[in-house]
Symmetry: C2
Subunit: 496 residues, 2 copies
């Protein structure tokens, strides 16, 4: 019998095949495509995206979703149906005219931003951003009304289902209690330490070879993925063929290497999503926050730990030889250096949350209509002073114009970075309890037990559970900022 659910299954399989092509063509655009291919590629991807939107929001899909609720489905099918419904609603809620207007305004704002940022042209940028904010507010209003939640919460839900401003206020409020003083202490202590800069150059093919060895150590499946180069590192492709990228600088290899560690965390999650469900929404990664928890568990919890750095140190020396600045102790210290700065993407893990809280507070007020675009610079400055003690007056390019997220209306995304950092701490400490030999394992370069635990508790579940349920199943409780605090205090605190 052809059930509504089986029709939905077939429809989402079809959609995932189109997503596959879109992912690969998107990856190609960032890594391989020569300049003159750009226009035709954008048009081809836009055409596919219109098609995907049409298939997903067809009236029949809405009807099948209603009918399938009455059908006899097992737990996984129920979860799959819930995720289908989520996707359908997110797509079907907005009138096509708004989708188009948002896309145009976003493209215009981002395009101009690429030259306005280096030119420090806030006035020019603000003109375009106003339009983006106006349309994002319209979007948020429609989503909020349909879901009976606040406007900003409705955008948060796109990236981190179930997350709300009330919860974030509590979580970030807690961080604001103890993080600034911890940061001050660490900075003060590190000021008396000496950090040597390892002597370059580090040839790019050597750096790539090191990256591949580290990926291998981290269990990356090279029969189902690759490492390439792009201007902005990312993890793309499809679960059967995960494409990660990094970028190289001949003078310095640690950034590229840790970038590879970070993206490998994303990649292993993708490579280990439930195989038998691939193509169905329930097999997708749970949320942006959980995705980031995997990359940050790899990069920060594991990657910047003394034991892991010790374990890969021989690989580094094998590749570059023992040069001045490449002594083991200095190599470890460089990976744990704390230096508050203006730029989020360059931030260490202690100052990073301040960058996020600042953006969260501004974007939330912006979407709820409590502030306007012209209020952003002053707020940015006062919060940078308050959280990091840094002055950005008049420096828009390294201040409120530094990120790409707002240019095309990605409001609600920023919090997932710090949620990910906190989930990562909670998961890693739980894994250490579950696997008492883990620290010794890591020292020996044996990560099997860690990956088994992650697979068991996170990877294999895809989107079967809500984020809260997934974290509670894995760690015995929902998000608890105490883990993140313990992590930072134990790595950077007085007794560290």
């Amino acid at each position: 019998m052809t059930t509504a659910y089986s029709q939905l299954r077939a429809t989402f399989t079809r959609l995932s095949r189109f997503s596959h092509l879109s992912s690969i063509a998107g990856w190609d655009m960032q890594t391989m495509m020569p300049a003159e291919g750009s226009k035709a590629r954008s048009e081809a991807l836009a055409e596919l995206s219109v098609l995907q939107h049409q298939i997903l929001t067809a009236a029949q899909v809405g009807e099948w979703l209603q009918q399938a609720r009455q059908e006899d489905l097992n737990d996984l099918e129920q979860a799959n149906l819930r995720e289908m419904h989520r996707q359908y609603q997110h797509a079907a809620l907005l009138p096509e005219s708004l989708v188009e207007a948002k896309s145009l305004a976003g493209a215009r704002c981002e395009h101009a931003w690429r030259r306005q940022r280096p030119a420090n042209d806030w006035e020019g940028f603000a003109d375009n951003l106003r339009e983006v904010v106006k349309l994002s507010r319209q979007e948020a209003t429609l989503r909020a009304e349909a879901a009976g939640i606040s406007r900003y919460d409705s955008l948060l839900d796109l990236y981190e289902p179930g997350m709300t401003a009330v919860k974030l206020d509590e979580i970030f409020g807690d961080l604001k209690q103890w993080l600034p003083s911890l940061l001050q202490q660490v900075v003060a202590r590190q000021q008396s330490q000496h950090f040597a800069q390892p002597e370059g150059p580090f040839a790019i093919d050597q750096q790539k070879a090191l990256g591949l060895k580290v990926m291998k150590r981290l269990g990356f499946n090279f029969d189902a993925g690759r490492l390439d180069i792009s201007a902005h590192p990312f993890c793309g492709g499809v679960p059967q063929d995960v494409r990660i990228t990094t970028r190289y600088n001949e003078q310095e290899f640690i950034t590229a290497m840790m970038g590879v560690v970070h993206e490998t965390g994303h990649a292993r999650y993708e490579q280990n999503l439930p195989k038998e469900w691939l193509g169905q929404p329930v097999a997708n990664a749970r949320s942006m926050g959980i995705h980031e928890s995997q990359s940050l568990l790899f990069e920060m919890q594991l990657g910047c730990s003394d034991v892991f750095l010790q374990s890969i140190y021989p690989l580094v020396i094998e590749q570059f030889g023992l040069r001045p600045g490449l002594e083991q102790a200095n190599f470890i210290k460089l990976n744990q250096r704390v230096q508050p700065g203006l730029i989020r993407v360059d931030a260490d893990e202690v100052s990073y949350p301040a960058h996020i809280i600042l953006r969260y507070e501004i974007e939330q007020a912006l979407i709820e209509g409590e502030i306007e675009v012209e209020d952003i610079p002053a707020l940015w400055n006062s919060k940078m002073q308050q959280y990091l003690g840094l002055d950005t007056v008049g420096n828009y390019r390294d201040g409120c114009m530094q990120d790409i997220h707002w240019t095309d209306g990605g409001f609600g995304y920023f919090p997932t970075y710090t949620l990910g950092a906190m989930y990562a701490a909670q998961l890693f400490q739980t894994a250490n309890k579950a696997v008492p030999t883990l620290q010794e394992d890591i020292t020996r370069g044996d990560l099997t037990a860690l990956f088994q635990w992650l697979n068991q508790n996170i990877w294999q579940h895809g989107s079967r559970f809500s984020t809260d349920q997934l974290i509670a199943n894995a760690t015995g409780e929902t998000l608890n900022t105490g883990y993140f605090r313990r992590h930072l205090e134990s790595r950077y605190g007085e007794l560290a």
Copy 2:
């Protein structure tokens, strides 16, 4: 006013965007994709191909094609409409059940062939091939009835519009008159010559660097294309972003280098198709024969000429140094060596046509129902004896099982290789008359005038004219085998 023609224009623009994604994902599959991506990629491409077929064969497209005939269209629009109609008919003529059956039988036959060929398993192969032939005959019958032509001609028309078995019999009949004796003479004369094998190894990155320099010399636009590696060299991508490939062997660099020259010929045709019409059928390359004429003009007419080889010789020495066997005279001789052999893809330009004529005669009889699959080996053997004096009895793997074309029903394709070789000779001799300084230009490494002539006469026209018209416009007459004979005699004949 929305005309039927403008509706068609929009539909074909949309189709070309999907083709873009299919081309890039197909290129990626051959060059970048790791093994485990294969199944998901094939499914994604098949899904897209079903979609493209549905869009192209929609009843409305048929109606618009009828209506557009009554509309006021200029010459180019008329030509575009003609090509639209051609695509529509080719796609719409076959019932979906036959398309699917052909695709399945072809995939099965090709898949099994990959192990049957090395195992020399003719019986096993013949079982699958019989099904492919049966379905190809059904296809040919439907196409032939609709077009009022013979069955084999209806398949030829897919690759070389307007070509017929009657014309081919005449053309190939002429070749059979003079080519075998020319071949014998050349072989006899070359037997007394000494060909030294240049001393390897030739590092792959050095070979790639040489290939890129040669591509640059040949005018390849690197802002609109790339060079990569694949098991079987090809030219793919889209006109705005042409992807060519080659493969490397550390012991020998000439094959990879001349492969690059060949694919660059295809690439420059694609890169210079009429820009303002890209996305419309009239902007497509004219035919497989004309496409091959460009790659063979680059590889054989230009690439293997003394003057061109002299002009790139300094690049070769710059890359590899003057090694034993890399003396200029020997380098030129190696590129003009004639050695009849069993394998088509390894054949020189003098023996190549024999491989094609043999395949043409067999596939034509097969499609017309004059012979059956079990008759192939005996025919193959007798024709190999007759045309090349070689014995293949019992050697199926290097005989009738060597090519991939028949495995998935690509009957009618083979003749385009030799048509391309003959068009290439005709075009190149005409260009030399039109540009009296051409030989000196080539010696100096200046190919501007040649490329201007090709652009003027071939590239910029896309599919505006029929093949006959295009060749007649360019050279003053339709295909004339005399040019090809003069070329071979002047390069390889007694007086050469």
